[in-house]
């Protein structure tokens, strides 16, 4: 067999094995002196960025013009892009989890290259970074922390909406080295920074800074394990310490016996640390076990990843990781695990040896486990040959089983196909299985898109049944940006390819076209966007204002409409603005609603409303604004003026607005009269309604004035009577009520008089109204008298009604021996003789 056994390249470290897998060879040109470069790699086997180290001297080569640039390569050394750089000294170079390249300059400018193709956004760290300058930066999944020369720390936790924040104030002193714990792994759920100052380590977060009281420093290197649980420390004296990240329990210690400070000190997975000098790499495991690797091709760089370390040299790219346990279980020399026997069985089968069956029988009870292990081991294996062998073993094993759920097996076959495809050197994404799981297939696809590998992305998406819309959109966007063809051809080509595909965001493509300065193409593309709402912002930036408004209304989303209106209001003079909204009722309604709301404290935007109603000839609405203003006036006089203005608006159409005009006039009259009363009577009347004014006047005994009001405002007789009655009762003016009772007729009848006076507690007076009441139900008078406490009268009525029952009830209530009782008895005896 010409394929090396998987154990080749394994190194024992304590009880565990580590393996170094050669991923690619001939990575960089031999004349590229890696020693002079800063090399950083994106997580999950992403791209590598090279930037010439400014501290290193370089031999002057007259043939080559020296232009600083940041060069991006794949792991296999394929150049992806070169970004020319002339923005000054770079103090931080790093990657985010989604393969954004971050460049931080000394004066605190952060550039975020969102794809690998040179598109970028930029923001400033602020917080004093301009004055005291950035010293260095550390990066994590989707954020960064910058250390300034004055030891201040600035944290940015998202690149989409960068909000640079100052962390707790650090102590002074030279920072020997530093590192951070990403928020996802920190106890506080926010980023924590470790600073080595003097002998000790300080731990920072947003609000506080804790001294860990170590005395073994200063440390030239600090590194935090990928799961955030452990910290590796490397002292000036060449000792490496591993300690838990709460600095409570030291775990191991190792003396490198080297005077030269190492170039790299990083974690390899969560179990071992790697120390690298120029061409020598030490792997230090738990308990201080060490294994060493030497590279003769010169300078190496380490690119730490989640589950291992990539080692980059000119001629090779290696991946160093702990041998996954499933692999160890299968391949370890002398392994007798069921999985390993199963693998052997399939080899025997190929040789047509009966031992195959013997093997199967041997592991029969553990066959399921063996199959699972083989499937998982296949995932962890980089060699295609061994992947196949393991899967074959699994397949053989499961064919023997009666019942086995093959889902995992099928998934693994799919996954491996994808992994092998992206590991191919031309793509150069040597993902391990673990990394692939963490990265997720859809992010893998966006990485492929950043590399413009559209065909592969489409194939993978199709194969894994993932959405393809983003791939098409990305392709079309790139096409719009880079194609040299004329607009019509581009548009036709894009629409041809993309029509009928679900989920295509033509808006994104159109935006790209617009950004490229091709407005016409943008408009044409936008017409193909099915989602009205999406078109709005772009239409606005294209100054297609009315169209934007229409699309916003069409979407039904009032926020969009408000947004467009807000923009238009700022942009246009009022008349133009009104012209735009007039023909669109929803827009008008929203403008009105917003103006009515005003600033949210009851101050409506009256000027705006008046103009709006005036130009739209909505007189009544316009008058309403004035009336509301009138209500807000502190004085009656000014309120009257406002009312007059309201009337003036309605004057044009006296017939239709007759009622409103009349009411407005009355309102002004009432205000004046009330003012006069206040002057004469020294009590407040303003704010009362006509009826209430009358009520108050009568209550105060001002009958004449009340009459005047009634006459002035033509208060209907019935209403006036009611008011009078209520006011008199309220002021307990029985005398006056008695006077009224002398009148022959009341427009509201006499029952209300009875009820009101009775309720006010004047039974005597109430009773006088009973005979005056007409149209009562038979027998009602009895109860009415009874309520007044006049049983005798009630009994008389009962007698009249020949109602013996009520009579005797009354008699009982009065008691036979009281005077009243005897009287009742006397009245009744005549009629109800037994």
């Amino acid at each position: 067999m010409d394929v090396a056994h998987p154990t080749v390249g394994w190194e024992q470290l304590g009880e565990r094995f580590y393996r170094k897998i050669q991923l690619y060879t001939q990575v960089f040109d031999q004349d590229l002196d890696l020693d002079n470069y800063i090399v950083v790699g994106a997580p999950y086997s992403g791209a590598i960025a090279l930037y010439r180290d400014e501290d290193k001297l370089v031999a002057f080569q007259p043939t080559k013009a020296f232009k600083p640039s940041i060069d991006i390569y794949s792991c296999a050394g394929n150049p992806i892009r070169s970004i020319p750089w002339d923005k000054g000294s770079i103090k931080g170079l790093g990657w985010s989890e989604d393969e954004k390249l971050l460049i931080v300059t000394a004066d605190g400018i952060v550039r975020c290259y969102t794809d690998l193709q040179g598109e970028f956004t930029q923001f400033s760290l602020g917080n004093g970074s301009e004055e005291s300058n950035v010293k260095s930066c550390k990066f994590y999944d989707h954020g960064l922390v910058a250390l300034l020369n004055n030891n201040s720390l600035i944290s940015v936790s998202s690149y989409d909406e960068p909000r640079p924040k100052l962390l707790a104030a650090p102590p002074q002193g030279q920072v020997h080295s530093w590192s951070l714990i990403p928020p996802a792994y920190a106890l506080s759920r926010s980023v924590e920074v470790l600073l080595s100052i003097n002998q000790t380590i300080y731990v920072f977060d947003a609000s506080e800074c804790v001294d860990q009281y170590l005395d073994i420093g200063p440390f030239t290197h600090i590194c935090v394990s990928p799961n955030g649980k452990f910290v590796g420390l490397y002292t000036k004296t060449g000792r490496a310490h591993v300690i838990t990240s709460d600095f409570q329990s030291p775990l191991s210690e190792h003396d490198s016996k080297s005077k030269i400070p190492p170039k790299y000190f990083e974690w390899c997975g969560n179990d071992a640390v790697v120390i690298a000098w120029e061409d020598e790499v030490h792997l230090v495991g738990p308990g201080g076990a060490v294994t060493k690797f030497y590279y003769d091709s010169g300078r190496v760089h380490l690119l730490p990843d989640y589950d291992g370390v990539r080692i980059i040299a000119n001629d090779t790219c290696d991946f160093l990781q702990k041998v996954p346990s499933v692999i160890e279980e299968v391949f370890r020399l002398g392994a007798d695990s069921p999985a390993s026997i199963l693998l052997d069985a399939v080899e025997q089968l190929e040789m047509q040896s009966p031992k195959a069956d013997y093997n199967i029988q041997l592991i029969r009870p553990h066959l399921v486990e063996a199959v699972d292990t083989c499937v998982n081991a296949a995932g962890q294996e980089f060699s295609v040959h061994w992947q196949k062998q393991l899967l074959r073993a699994a397949s053989f094993g499961k064919s023997v089983l009666d019942i086995y759920n093959s889902d995992d097996f099928v998934d693994m076959c799919e996954t491996l196909r994808v992994l092998n495809a992206v590991r191919y050197y031309k793509i150069g994404l040597p993902l391990s299985y673990e990394q692939y799981q963490r990265l997720s297939p859809s992010n893998l696809i966006s990485r492929l898109l950043n590399r413009h590998e559209y065909l592969l992305a489409l194939r993978i998406a199709g194969y894994l049944r993932l959405p393809t819309d983003k791939i098409y959109v990305h392709w079309a966007t790139a096409k719009v940006r880079h194609s040299a063809e004329d607009d019509d051809t581009i548009c036709r080509k894009i629409v041809e390819k993309l029509s009928g595909k679900p989920g295509i965001s033509f808006e994104a493509i159109a935006r790209a076209a617009f950004d490229e300065g091709s407005g016409r193409l943008a408009t044409e593309l936008l017409n193909h966007e099915p989602r009205a709402g999406r078109q709005v912002p772009l239409l606005l930036s294209m100054e297609e204002d009315e169209l934007a408004l229409d699309k916003a209304i069409e979407s039904g989303d009032t926020d969009l409409v408000y947004f467009v209106l807000h923009q238009l209001r700022r942009k246009f003079p009022l008349t133009t603005f009104f012209r735009v909204i007039n023909s669109r009722p929803i827009a008008t309604a929203l403008v009105e609603a917003a103006a009515r709301d005003g600033d949210g404290e009851g101050h409506e935007d009256t000027a705006m409303l008046k103009d709006l109603y005036y130009q739209d000839d909505r007189r009544l609405d316009g008058a309403s604004v004035f009336i509301r203003e009138a209500l807000r006036q502190p004085e009656s006089r000014t309120a009257g003026d406002k009312l007059a203005l309201a009337s003036k608006l309605l004057m044009d159409n006296t017939k239709e607005n007759a009622f409103e005009l009349g009411a407005l006039k009355e309102a002004a009259v009432l205000l004046r009269m009330q003012e006069a009363f206040e002057r004469d009577l020294g009590d407040t009347y303003t704010g009362l309604s006509v009826n209430q004014t009358m009520f108050k006047l009568i209550r105060q005994g001002e009958h004449g004035r009340a009459k005047k009001i009634q006459g002035e405002f033509k208060v209907p007789e019935k209403v006036a009577w009611w008011i009078r009655l209520q006011a008199l009762v309220a002021s307990r003016n029985w005398h006056e009520i008695e006077d009224i009772a002398k009148q022959r007729k009341s427009p509201i009848g006499w029952e209300p008089f009875y009820n009101q006076t009775l309720q006010a507690g004047n039974q005597r007076l109430a009773a006088t109204f009973i005979p005056k009441c007409t149209g009562l139900e038979p027998g009602q008078t009895m109860t009415m008298y009874e309520k007044c406490g006049m049983r005798t009268k009630a009994a008389e009525e009962a007698v009249k009604m020949k109602d013996a029952e009520t009579w005797s009830r009354l008699l009982e209530a009065a008691g036979r021996n009281t005077a009243e009782g005897r009287e009742i008895e006397r009245i009744g005896l005549a009629v109800f003789r037994r």
């Binding site: 926010s190 894994l464 049944r465 303003t686 006509v690 209403v719």
Partner: protein, 673 residues
């Protein structure tokens, strides 16, 4: 595909709570919470104040009070993102705090239910966007009860019908879309009314956009294929039936709302009526509202399904509440007495375990007896009865002019304005506008009686089409005769009263046989419309007696949608629609077949513009009858009552000499009540 889980309002609550707490957890350390006042109650529905404290909330302020202090480094704002003035208010406070504070602050804004472009713009223009962490808190529906979801948009009625601002429509559609994405498409969307139609259109549109928006793999298409646990969604626009909520509610819960008012499941009642709360700490500490109840003699009472006694009483007609309370009191008594009969220690232990339950019930019984007494006192007044009489006469179709005198008297006697306006609106709605002469007379009475500022109120009511002259262009299309004529512009109560049997003379409040019990004889039109879809057989059986035969032809058991009542429905205002949402794959049909028709399916009844407690009671009555086949979940933009509708239109200010505005408002309230 995995079977879709059935819909439970509890899930909505859980998700809302998780979302909120997750966001709070993301803000490190202690924090000050600043909430929009109108969100305080709804948030109280989903999370208790004590829980918030566990998540580091030290103090809670209302955004409107502008008194946020600088005690904590973290300040979290929670407000609705739809309106610019919240963003303005937040921006103001941030600038103020930044100016006043010695130490820097961290500002967080959680927009409910979504972050809007407008609020971003406002914050940006105020120059504070860069200093804040903005997040979304996607709370659409607040579960008020196990069968009621509300957006709790207090102003939705005013926004929709007065300001013509369609935001509530959009939010309703978004909220329903959320349900669809989780549980599958509504197989059928049926409804009535223009705004309802808009919701339906938006749903269809959003579905298209979702299809266009994401090419979701075949893996999770739940949101895009018809659900097999949901039967349909019925959307009713409030506009279709203004009259129902204008009438005085006569169920227990409805009357609590009429007399005391219910906000977010809580009512505030004077302690003289219900007694003081047992212990300050033990009192339902759910409201996220700041503890300010120091001196007020009011007590907050939680009203929801968790209170067993209330659960029994809430949907019954007031007539029977007294008897029920009596029965409960006797049962409690006898349960409690059972301790004497318990002989063994085991029995005794059992009793002791139940003891806290008894005490809670005892408490609640005391509260409800107090409430019921107060309500009965209220309903016994002359005024109330006069109002009710006029209302019922109008609803029953008496000649409106015969009620003229009664209305005049009510105004002369200074009956609270909302009550009078409700009457007039019922008058106008039922008779399709009022004769100009009468109208002018009524209008004069109103402005004389309650002040000239109500010119604005009357103008608003006219714009709402609730109180308008017959000559008005808005009223001209109203078909006044019972004939089948012009349709669809206005609800024709005269016609529908017969067609759908809105008036049921022989109601039995004790053991109701028809939804008409909730108004003691008037069956709410809005709910009759729902019955047109859900209870065809029943409705036919009670309307047939009226000689209406045109409907019976197609009343087979399988008829769906509006079938059988198309004609009647045409006489209600607004568009009628019936959409079927089909899935793309044939598998759906197969699945539907497999799952069989036997199990209970959910029907969503959505009220755009608000629903009243009586209507909820009526819907629950239907739900009870249909229990075997369907579960009804009620969704609404807000809970509404006649008074709240009138408040939307009423001008709050008066000509009174200006003190601060709030005082003026109080005094108008005094003069009108």
């Amino acid at each position: 595909m995995a079977p879709q889980a059935g819909f439970e309002t509890e899930q909505v609550k859980d998700k809302a709570r998780k979302d909120l707490l997750h966001l709070l957890e993301g803000v490190r350390g202690k924090k000050t919470l600043v909430i929009e006042e109108k969100l305080g109650g709804p948030l109280g529905v989903i999370v208790k104040a004590s829980t918030l404290r566990d998540y580091g909330v030290e103090k809670i302020f209302f955004l409107e009070n502008k008194n946020t202090d600088t005690s904590q480094r973290n300040v979290v704002f929670i407000a609705r993102g739809e309106s610019a003035h919240n963003a303005n208010a937040i921006a103001d406070q941030i600038t103020r705090l930044q100016r006043e504070a010695q130490s820097p602050h961290e500002f967080h804004i959680f927009w409910v239910p979504r972050r809007t472009l407008l609020s971003d713009k406002v914050l940006e223009e105020a120059g504070v966007l860069g200093d804040t962490n903005v997040a979304e808190l996607p709370l659409y529906f607040f579960p008020l009860d196990k069968d009621v979801l509300s957006l709790e948009l207090d102003d939705s009625f005013r926004d929709l019908y007065l300001a013509k601002d369609p935001t509530p429509v959009y939010l309703t559609a978004r909220a329903l879309m959320g349900i669809q994405q989780k549980h599958g498409l509504f197989p059928r969307i049926i409804g009535k009314g223009d705004n309802a139609k808009r919701v339906s259109d938006l749903l269809l549109r959003m579905r298209q956009e979702l299809l266009a928006g994401e090419d979701v793999g075949e893996m999770d298409k739940v949101g895009l294929s018809p659900s097999n646990t949901i039967e349909s969604v019925i959307i009713i626009d409030r506009e279709v039936d203004f009259v129902t909520p204008l009438l005085t509610q006569l169920t227990y819960e409805g009357l609590i709302d009429e007399v005391f008012g219910i906000q977010n499941n809580q009512t505030e009642v004077d302690t003289t009526i219900v007694g003081a709360p047992p212990q300050p700490g033990k009192d339902s500490a759910s409201a996220a509202a700041p503890a300010s109840s120091g001196q007020t003699r009011k007590r907050k009472i939680q009203l929801d399904g968790s209170d067993k006694i209330f659960e029994q009483l809430r949907d019954t007609n007031l007539v029977v509440v007294g008897g029920l309370l009596n029965k409960i009191a006797r049962r409690l008594q006898s349960d409690y007495e059972s301790r004497h009969t318990s002989k063994t220690t085991a029995e005794l232990r059992e009793f002791v375990q139940k003891l806290p339950g008894y005490q809670a019930e005892q408490q609640s019984l005391k509260i409800h007896t107090g409430l019921a007494e107060e309500i009965i006192k209220h309903t016994g007044t002359e005024n109330f009865n006069k109002l009710l009489e006029v209302q019922q006469n109008l609803a029953a179709g008496a000649d409106p002019s015969s009620q003229f005198d009664a209305i005049e008297e009510l105004i002369a006697r200074d009956t609270p304005l909302p009550q009078v306006l409700r009457l007039l609106c019922v008058y106008s709605c039922i008779s399709g506008g009022i004769k100009t002469k009468e109208l002018d007379y009524f209008r004069r009475l109103i402005i004389h009686g309650y002040g000239y500022q109500h010119l604005l109120t009357l103008h608003n009511l006219e714009r709402l089409q609730m109180f308008l002259p017959r000559s008005s262009p808005l009223a001209s299309m109203i078909p006044m005769t019972g004939s089948v004529g012009a349709t669809g512009n206005k609800t024709n109560y005269t016609y529908l009263r017969k067609q759908l049997r809105l008036i049921v003379d022989e109601v039995n409040e004790q053991d109701p046989n028809d939804i008409a019990y909730v108004y003691s004889g008037y069956a709410p039109l809005s709910i009759r419309l729902v019955q047109c879809i859900l209870q065809k057989q029943y409705l036919l059986s009670i309307t047939r007696g009226n000689g209406v035969t045109n409907a019976s032809a197609s009343a087979g058991g399988g008829a769906q949608g509006w079938r059988g009542f198309d004609d009647a429905v045409k006489h209600a205002r607004g568009q009628t629609f019936d959409e079927v949402q089909k899935g793309e794959d044939k598998a759906v049909k197969a699945r539907a077949l497999l799952s069989g028709g036997g199990e209970q399916k959910t029907v969503f009844v959505v009220f755009v513009g608000g629903i009243s407690f009586t209507e909820i009671a009526a819907l629950r009555f239907i739900a009870n009858k249909e229990e075997a086949r369907r579960k009804i979940v009620i969704c609404t933009t807000s809970i509404i009552s006649g008074n709240r509708m009138m408040e939307a239109a009423m001008e709050k200010e008066s000509f009174e000499k200006r003190a601060p505005a709030s005082q003026a408002r109080n005094s108008t309230a005094e003069t009108t009540s």
